[in-house]
């Protein structure tokens, strides 16, 4: 019967379709094509991954400029899902004009697939090199070309302390690691654990410890070895890494050196880890953390309101007083469509000395050496900017550059397991090494 045959055919077709689609997918074909907004139409689209006050401040920074230049900016905020959004849009060939990459990793992926524009066609890169804090531009460098230029940056090699209690106790800011060690012992001898440490951060638990290890790597192994470590030129469990981890262990994790002990550090949230510093009798005296911690919402409210009198900061010292490596991060502006003059103007504005960014109390630091620091709202920010300016080597946060499986996976988990005592240092380092994607 005809009907029956029809049913058979439908079933066959369905089976074929099922079978065909069950094959492996091709890894997305590459085709050039339309990019960003049209040239010369006075529109530029910027995608960025920060939200809240930073996003508002960033958008406000363009208000005046847009009036005089006549260029309208389309802001696309992707504060929850920058990685996903940018990857999807690039795959769909629906790219923005400019993207602000919080991590160089994805940017470099796009460079490898020829999606990005060499910035020397957009800006005077060699001039920028002398104007920016030394080394920050290298984060967006692939081969000998620059693809991303930071419009803001942050510093992680900072130690915060409770100014009043610190001065009352008569502690002196250390300028070398050796001095830091003796200061640590001095504070410990007074009966208070010297260090505050909190590495709990929900599903990202462990990241503050990765910053510690990276900063120690920059000091004990030096920037060249650091770079090799980050790019997997040396294995993750290289002796150099073990040395750095041991330095961290001796300084902070040793018995009596950290508030709450190592178990306490693992269960304390990073955001409030420094708060015991500001108790009437400080619970700890030093917190190593990025400059973001001075924004409201981290230290207690009364401390934030009176930040210059309450909070002191010093540079997490190098091995000697003259070597000053700084670990940090930044938002790298990169261009997809290099043929739009409007885009060039926007890039020039964002990287220029007059770009106000967002408020420094919301975490903005200008990567330009000639930035007018009187625009910063607090003495604390000016001190942090000064530490950044005096750096001898700037290095981008290593875990942000490692593959996701390591940088936001096994590295966090390994550090957590090591500090809380489930794994020995050797076990932790070699399990991270094992997880590096081949």
């Amino acid at each position: 019967m005809g009907r029956r045959k029809a049913i058979q055919r439908v079933a066959l077709a369905a089976a074929v379709a099922l079978g065909a689609s069950a094959c492996l997918s091709d890894s997305g074909g590459d085709s050039g094509g339309s990019s960003g907004t049209k040239s010369g139409d006075g529109n530029v689209e910027i995608i960025f991954g920060f939200g809240g006050a930073q996003s508002k401040g960033f958008q406000a920074a363009f208000t005046e400029w847009s009036k005089t230049s006549g260029i309208k900016i389309k802001f696309t905020e992707a504060s929850q899902s920058f990685d996903t959004l940018i990857r999807t849009r690039v795959q769909a060939n629906n790219v923005p004009d400019i993207a602000l990459f919080p991590q160089p990793g994805i940017l470099k992926d796009f460079v490898a697939t020829n999606k990005m524009t060499d910035l020397s066609t957009q800006l005077d890169v060699s001039q920028l090199q002398s104007q920016l804090i030394s080394g920050v531009l290298d984060a967006g460098k692939v081969g000998d070309k620059y693809y991303g230029v930071p419009i803001s940056y942050n510093v992680k090699s900072l130690v915060f302390y409770p100014k009043k209690a610190w001065d009352a106790a008569g502690y002196k800011v250390p300028t070398t690691q050796a001095e830091l060690t003796s200061l640590t012992n001095q504070i410990k001898a007074s009966g208070t654990p010297p260090w505050c440490l909190g590495i709990e951060s929900g599903s990202a638990t462990g990241w503050p410890a990765t910053d510690w290890l990276e900063d120690e790597m920059l000091r004990t192994a030096g920037p060249e070895t650091y770079d090799k470590w980050v790019s997997h030129g040396i294995p993750f469990n290289d002796p150099a890494v073990k040395t750095a981890a041991t330095a961290f262990q001796n300084l902070v994790l040793a018995n009596g050196n950290v508030l709450g002990g190592t178990k306490g550090a693992v269960s304390t949230n990073f955001a409030t880890a420094g708060n015991p510093m500001f108790s009437a009798k400080p619970g700890c005296f030093m917190l190593k953390q990025g400059n973001f911690i001075t924004q409201s919402g981290f230290f207690p409210k009364n401390v934030v309101a009176d930040i210059d009198n309450q909070v002191g900061v010093f540079y997490f010292p190098g091995q000697d007083a003259n070597t000053k490596p700084v670990l940090g991060g930044g938002d790298l502006a990169a261009v997809f469509n290099g043929k739009d003059d409007d885009t060039k103007k926007v890039m020039a504005f964002m990287t220029g000395p007059d770009f106000p960014g967002w408020k420094d109390s919301d975490g903005f630091l200008s990567p330009r050496k000639d930035y007018d620091v009187s625009k910063y709202s607090s003495e604390l920010t000016r001190q942090i900017a000064d530490i950044g300016n005096k750096t001898t080597t700037f290095r981008f946060d290593g875990s942000d550059q490692m593959p996701g499986a390591v940088g936001s996976g096994s590295f966090w988990k390994g550090m957590t397991a090591w500090i809380s005592g489930q794994q020995s240092l050797d076990q932790a380092l070699s399990s991270i090494e094992q997880s590096w994607p081949s």
Binding site: G264, A417, Q427, P437
Partner: protein, 326 residues
């Protein structure tokens, strides 16, 4: 407002669409010549369900099995590499052991406690029974993530000398001891057991409700007969009541077992799989989302499916046996 309209549209569209579909299928069936109408109709009625199951269950399953033999972006075959890689990793071995522990302990405890509560509540006055059961059932209404968040506070630890906001540590420090980092206690798998407590706490209600209904269905004559024959209460319970509700016990056990095998939220929220508490489902999310390794993620799912399928078959058979016994 838009959300409300969307929801309404979805409901109207979904229900209406299903109605129209069945109406059309019915219409076609009725056009067929007499004998054929009766032959075809049942298939037409079952067709949408089978198609949906095929599309959303069978097809993804086959696809997953295929992907488990491919690399991280599903673009090249790697043979059994995903399987050997995973099974030789120490982390994954610990994960498997933890999952096995969950399977071995949690469902049995849920059933035992549920049975105990149901039996004891059965002897209370009706009003007290209602109240007790409602209280025990209450955690069932809370979502897994919220449960985990609540219990995180119970296990919360602060450095010694600071006010303890966690219930357990508040008690411990009041008694003059140092605070304990409960969730980091990996010796003897203590922290895994502490996580199981959360699941058990939330599932006992479910177990109790079903078992309680079953106990109430046990004919009084059988109990009386046993007592007249001189059986004590313990014998009545284990020899008369339990055998008569055995089918329900198995159903509750297997349902909880399958839930436990898929356990994710409690572990993810409370420890993130750290401190040797990882379980298979959390590892799956890590592989898929963090590591972007579709191949390994698929492999983990296949391992989980292989473990769950025999249980499901057992439960389906058990259902059938129960149906047949009625």
């Amino acid at each position: 407002m838009i959300k409300v309209i969307n929801t309404l549209l979805a409901i109207v569209g979904g229900v209406g669409g299903a109605l129209v579909l069945y109406w059309v299928l019915n219409f076609i069936a009725e056009r067929l010549p007499g004998r054929w109408e009766d032959r075809v109709k049942p298939f037409f009625y079952i067709l949408p369900a089978v198609a949906a199951l095929g599309l959303y269950l069978v097809y993804p399953l086959i696809q997953t099995i295929i992907y488990s033999f491919a690399n991280n972006t599903s673009s090249a075959w790697v043979g059994f590499k995903n399987y050997t890689d995973l099974l030789t990793q120490r982390d994954f071995q610990i994960t498997l052991v933890n999952t096995l522990l969950w399977i071995a302990i949690a469902p049995a405890v849920v059933v035992a406690l549920g049975l105990a509560v149901a039996t004891l509540a059965d002897r209370l006055a009706p009003r007290a029974e209602q109240t007790a059961k409602t209280l025990i059932f209450l955690p069932m209404a809370v979502s897994g993530v919220a449960l985990a968040a609540i219990w995180r506070f119970i296990y919360e630890v602060r450095p010694a000398g600071q006010p303890q906001i966690g219930l357990l540590n508040a008690i411990v420090t009041k008694l003059g001891h140092d605070p304990v980092a409960w969730l980091q206690l990996s010796t003897g798998k203590t922290n895994t057991f502490l996580l199981m407590v959360v699941l058990i706490w939330s599932q006992v209600g479910f177990s109790m409700v079903l078992l309680s209904a079953a106990i109430k269905g046990v004919p009084d004559e059988t109990l009386e007969a046993a007592r007249i024959d001189g059986a004590n209460e313990r014998q009545v319970f284990f020899r008369i009541v339990v055998p008569q509700i055995w089918g329900t016990v198995i159903t509750v056990f297997v349902t909880t077992l399958i839930n436990v095998m898929k356990i994710f939220d409690i572990v993810y929220v409370m420890t993130g799989g750290n401190f040797n508490t990882n379980v298979v489902a959390v590892r799956f999310i890590n592989e898929l989302i963090t590591n972007g390794n579709a191949g390994r993620a698929a492999t983990i799912v296949v391992i989980l499916v292989i473990a769950i399928v025999p249980l499901m078959l057992y439960q389906v058979r058990n259902f059938r046996a129960q149906e047949a016994a009625r």
